[in-house]
């Protein structure tokens, strides 16, 4: 297997700043933000609460525009949302509650003008991939929290975007379901060879999933504090000593953010 360092950068953030409109420059959510994501890489972003993790994701998704700097995807400047990026949202509010699981996945494909028969086939394929075969005709209200997030993942995967953007997708799930979905996501990532940009506040989650972990500074004017390489073999064992060492490394990096209490979860 080739080393990830050999592959070119797919996404490049250079000197990116963002602030909400009408806010003074001192309220920049992020400033001088620089990092890259390589093709096929699994990158997790962690950082103290309110550090702008979700903002970075929204910038990359094209939902927000940087106030300074540039974001390049394969060398071209990013212009709004696009089919090359698929987003898995935080909660089930993003699902269409009047549509069944399969119709939720199909809607995006319909918008993307995928032919009708192909829509159904592909939606079914990805629902199967996330383990929802047999549940495809249920409405979101009839599905458990974990299943709803699977629909969310299937919807983003079905668009066949190269880059998957995931905003704390498992944050609202119970611990058991969370671990199950993390393992499944690792397998899906390995099988589909997508690039994943994954925002989380859960360090164990980041260490079990990521190739590299971006640790952000405390906001406002946040940016990258550390980038920690996670070169543990997959599948990863959460009880492993190397896992524990990485966990502590990330944990200390976050805890060392000035003025911060040792606790930093949401």
């Amino acid at each position: 297997m080739e080393s990830p360092a050999d592959t070119p950068e797919l996404v490049t953030f250079s000197n990116v700043a963002f602030r909400h409109s009408l806010m003074p420059a001192s309220n920049d959510v992020v400033r001088d933000l620089n990092f890259g994501i390589r093709d096929g890489e699994f990158v997790c972003v962690v950082g103290p609460s309110g550090c702008g993790k979700t903002t970075v994701l929204n910038l990359l998704a094209g939902f927000e525009r940087p106030t300074a700097g540039s974001i390049l995807i394969s060398g071209t400047s990013l212009q709004g949302p696009g089919a090359d990026r698929g987003v898995v949202f935080q909660g089930d509010a993003s699902l269409y509650h009047w549509l069944s699981a399969i119709e939720n996945v199909e809607l995006g494909l319909k918008i993307a003008r995928v032919p009708h028969a192909e829509c159904r086939r592909r939606a079914m394929e990805f629902l199967q991939l996330v383990g929802l075969k047999g549940e495809e005709d249920k409405l979101p209200a009839q599905l458990s929290g974990g299943m709803k997030q699977r629909v969310n993942i299937a919807r983003a995967l079905a668009g066949q975007a190269r880059i998957m953007l995931m905003d704390e997708p498992f944050g609202q799930l119970d611990a058991q379901t969370r671990v199950t979905l993390q393992d499944e996501l690792s397998q899906i990532w390995a099988r589909t060879k997508r690039t994943i940009f994954f925002v989380t506040h859960d360090i164990a989650e980041a260490v079990s999933l990521a190739d590299r972990i971006i640790v952000m500074r405390r906001g406002p004017r946040s940016n990258v504090r550390d980038i920690i390489t996670c070169d543990l073999a997959r599948p990863r064992d959460r009880g492993d000593a190397a896992f524990g060492r990485l966990y502590n490394l990330v944990s200390r990096a976050i805890a060392n953010e000035p003025g911060l209490l040792p606790r930093y979860d949401a």
Partner: protein, 273 residues
């Protein structure tokens, strides 16, 4: 092996489960008792507290209702009111939904229509009865016009509330597939808003009942409002009571039908919070 025996505890805690049909029976029984209580209070009032010429007894009212049903006048008056409500409600709801969707989603429509919605919201339908009669006469048109007016605002305002409460992630999820504004409108905004519009329509139905009675009192030759007002001239309080009770029953029935239809055909649009 250690036996973990939690069963007796569970059995203690678990409430006695009654069959579904039984609890439904209890519910019906409670409602029936409440109605019976009301009728008794009415009976007491009309026989002991006040003269039953001013306040007819339940029995006398019921007899009068039977008589009016037998000679058909009850049905023709109730039918006239219901027809006006139905026509006005359908037209008003259609306009209200379209107006609400447009004003909720399209900036230009919001700028154009918003101030008028906010302004006329405070002008009650009955304020329009006089001009409506001058413009359209005392025929059907003036009544329907007023019901349309009353319906439009309620439906439009709840539709707008629906549009503005669509979660931004629903819109973003469509945007990531390259949806145009029109696609977002048709595929996300409209279905997200359906339930709000329907709720507005249920409210509007109540307003339509109020409005039609007022309109029929001020200028009509048929309808329940006309029945109630004209009966005053001969002090026929029993006929007035019949009119009032029929109004209440019809309103209740209409609302029940409407909500049953919503549950039957639109439950999936309700969502969850």
């Amino acid at each position: 092996m250690t036996r973990v025996d939690a069963t007796p505890l569970n059995d203690e805690v678990r409430p006695v489960r009654r069959p579904e049909s039984f609890s439904k029976f209890v519910r019906v029984l409670k409602t029936a008792l409440a109605i019976l209580g009301g009728v008794l209070v009415w009976q007491f009032t009309s026989t002991v507290l006040v003269s039953n010429i001013l306040f007819p007894t339940p029995g006398a009212t019921f007899q009068e209702a039977l008589r009016m049903a037998a000679n058909g006048e009850l049905f023709s008056d109730a039918g006239a009111s219901l027809a006006r409500i139905a026509v006005g409600f359908v037209i008003g709801s259609a306009i209200g939904v379209m107006l609400g969707l447009a004003a909720g989603y399209f900036e230009i429509a919001r700028l154009a229509v918003g101030p008028y919605l906010q302004f006329f919201r405070f002008v009650p339908p009955i304020a329009w009865i006089s001009p409506a009669i001058i413009w359209f006469g005392i025929g059907e048109t003036s009544k329907i016009f007023i019901i349309v007016y009353g319906t439009v605002f309620v439906v439009a305002l709840s539709t707008i509330a629906g549009v503005t409460s669509v979660h931004k992630d629903k819109i973003r999820a469509a945007m990531m597939f390259g949806a145009t504004n029109w696609q977002i409108f048709a595929m996300v905004i409209v279905p997200s808003t359906v339930y709000h519009s329907l709720t507005g329509m249920r409210l509007a139905m109540g307003i339509a009942f109020m409005t039609v009675v007022a309109a029929e009192m001020l200028g009509a030759e048929s309808g329940l409002g006309y029945l109630i007002l004209s009966s005053r001239l001969w002090m026929a309080t029993d006929r007035i009571f019949v009119g009032i009770i029929v109004l209440g029953l019809l309103g209740l029935l209409t609302d029940r039908i409407l909500s049953a239809l919503i549950e039957r055909f639109a439950a999936k649009y309700r969502g969850y919070s």
